[in-house]
């Protein structure tokens, strides 16, 4: 699978990672190499094989419906780059 600059731009956009134009050519090459390498899986016949859901053989645990957490808004925003009046603050979102 070969990845071009446009594809790099598209997935970088999906991943919200700024990729400078100057890097995208090199990145396209690297990603193509890696994808080409992992593509060897396609030679393996996996017809009828169940995809692995988890390596642990156990049931999903369930917890009781009780309020056991929260109530510490200062901790929630303690590490925020920007907070105001108990909220996180981000550049204005226009919907």
């Amino acid at each position: 699978m070969s990845v071009d600059k446009d594809t790099v731009a598209k997935i970088a956009r999906l991943a919200r990672i700024r990729v400078e134009d100057s890097q995208s050519e090199a990145l396209a090459g690297e990603l193509s190499n890696i994808l080409g390498w992992i593509e060897q899986l396609s030679e393996l016949d996996t017809e009828g094989v169940e995809p692995m859901t988890s390596v642990v053989s156990m049931k999903l645990p369930l917890r009781d419906d009780a309020v056991t957490d929260g109530g510490y808004p200062e901790e929630v925003t303690a590490n925020a780059p920007e907070a105001a009046h108990g909220f996180y603050a981000v550049p204005k979102v226009v919907e």
């Binding site: 929260g70 929630v76 979102v93």
Partner: protein
């Protein structure tokens, strides 16, 4: 089926609804933070809800039970294995950068809802699926000129997304669907159904077609937060699509946003293009496996649901479909009615509950739970009617007094001396006086004017302040005038 007449002929709406219903639970879907409404910003947020590094989700058993209850209430298939997947996208109020949802393997499969239409008819709408997912936080855009504020109190609250089949054909049906769904959820106690608080939100999928033709391309109008708005959004979008189609245009499959203020919707296509949700099973969770015995236990604990209750009211109480439908629309009202009707004439009880009682509730704007006249008291009033202590007319007066004071009917009747006069000698005396004093009217009656009888009845009632037994008055009058 309501058709829309376009310039080029009739069009039919094809409507499917996706409802997001907030599950009633104390704590969130994957964290132990509270779900209570209206707290200080970020005060009901755990480290998990804020997506702090290294935090992990643990599933709330009650949320699962609520989904199963709802599935059973919708006569739907409960899937013994379901899978939580991550829906990946970036947004300010989505702290993890993904929403934990169910995608390929929802907890509940196909089911049905029976709509009760205005004319008393019913219509079946299919349920496609129900799945569990996390709610997002809240963005507040109007507090700062260049910033949005984020509150994560709702982040992680359990939602059920209930997806209908495209079985509805009019805005009225969509309204009936939402009302019925809300009734069922409230009966089950799985969602409070308060659309104005956002605990129930609807996305509308709509396409137009010529009757009998295959489905057309649909649009999705998001986050419509009242039944009235849903109906408005449907009407507006249907007209828009008909216009586009009749001008030879094509409907673009897109997401639209409804504005309740203007009653219009606009395209969100620009945002849509960038979306590729990259669903994959959440590796922090294992597949959810349900024990069939648990499902049976939940099934056994279900209350009588509105459809069953309605048929019982119809067959057991002989109520007409419309009355029965009105009474079962609210579980508390149905229970109230049953208490009133217990050991009494059910039709009389139904008339009083849906008539005077509903009227008083609406007029005073109070909730059933706070009514000054509870079911026992209303029953007491009906007993006085039944045993002839008061007439139906006096009963209305007594009811008003009960509503004012909260006192028992018998106490009011006693205190105000409203007891019906059923003593025939007393009535005969009154009738004799009236006949003696009104020869002209007697002449008229004798001359064949039956209407004058009503005038005589009125005179007796006037003289007794309405307390005379109307049957007895009629009988005595006919006898004396005859």
């Amino acid at each position: 089926m309501a058709l829309i007449e376009g310039k080029t002929g009739a069009w039919e709406m094809v409507i499917g609804l996706e409802v997001h219903a907030q599950v009633i639970s104390k704590a969130k879907l994957f964290s132990g933070a509270s779900t209570a409404f209206g707290a200080e910003p970020n005060s009901q947020v755990s480290l998990v809800d804020a997506a702090m590094p290294g935090m992990l989700p643990v599933l709330n058993r009650h949320s699962v039970e609520q989904a199963v209850r709802t599935g059973l209430g919708l006569n739907a298939k409960i899937n013994l294995t379901s899978v939580f997947e991550r829906k990946n996208y970036f947004y300010a109020d989505l702290p993890q950068g993904y929403q934990i949802s169910q995608y390929l393997h929802p907890i509940v499969g196909e089911g049905t809802i029976i709509l009760d239409l205005e004319d008393g008819e019913t219509r079946e709408v299919g349920i496609e699926r129900l799945h569990l997912e996390q709610d997002a936080g809240k963005s507040i855009h109007d507090q700062h000129p260049s910033q949005s504020y984020i509150d994560l109190n709702r982040s992680g609250v359990t939602l059920m997304e209930i997806v209908s089949k495209p079985d509805m054909r009019s805005a009225e049906e969509a309204g009936a669907y939402l009302r019925k769904l809300r009734t069922i959820l409230r009966y089950l106690g799985t969602c409070d159904g308060n659309m104005d608080e956002g605990s129930m939100r609807a996305d509308v999928n709509l396409s137009m077609r010529r009757p009998g033709e295959p489905f057309g391309t649909r649009t999705e109008t998001k986050n419509v937060n009242s039944i009235r708005f849903v109906q408005q959004a449907i009407e507006a979008e249907a007209r828009r699509q008909v216009e586009v189609l009749e001008e030879g245009g094509e409907i673009v499959q897109e997401t639209r946003l409804f504005d309740g203020m203007t009653g219009k919707s606009r395209s969100m296509r620009s945002k849509e293009e960038a979306h590729d949700y990259r669903y994959f099973p959440d590796p922090d969770l294992l597949p959810l496996e349900l024990d069939p015995a648990w499902i049976e236990e939940i099934k056994a604990s279900l209350p009588e649901l509105p459809d069953a209750k309605k048929s019982r009211f119809m067959s057991g109480f002989g109520l007409p479909a419309y009355d029965a439908g009105v009474l079962v629309a609210d579980r508390e009202i149905a229970a109230f009615f049953e208490t009133v009707a217990e050991g009494r004439d059910p039709k009389l009880a139904a008339n009083w509950v849906t008539g005077e009682f509903f009227g008083a509730l609406n007029k005073s704007g109070i909730e059933l739970a706070d009514t000054p006249v509870d079911a026992k008291k209303l029953g007491g009033l009906l007993d006085l009617i039944a045993d002839g202590t008061i007439s139906g007319r006096i009963a209305k007066e007594v009811f008003e007094a009960m509503w004012e004071s909260g006192e028992d009917a018998s106490a009011i009747v006693e205190a105000k001396g409203l007891k019906q006069i059923s003593d025939s000698s007393e009535i005969e005396g009154l009738v004799d006086d009236i006949i003696a004093n009104n020869p002209k009217q007697v002449e008229q009656f004798k001359g064949g004017n039956e209407k004058v009888l009503g005038w005589f009845v009125g005179q007796v009632m006037k003289a007794t302040q309405g307390k005379a037994n109307p049957g007895l008055v009629n009988q005595v009058l006919r006898q004396k005038l005859g």
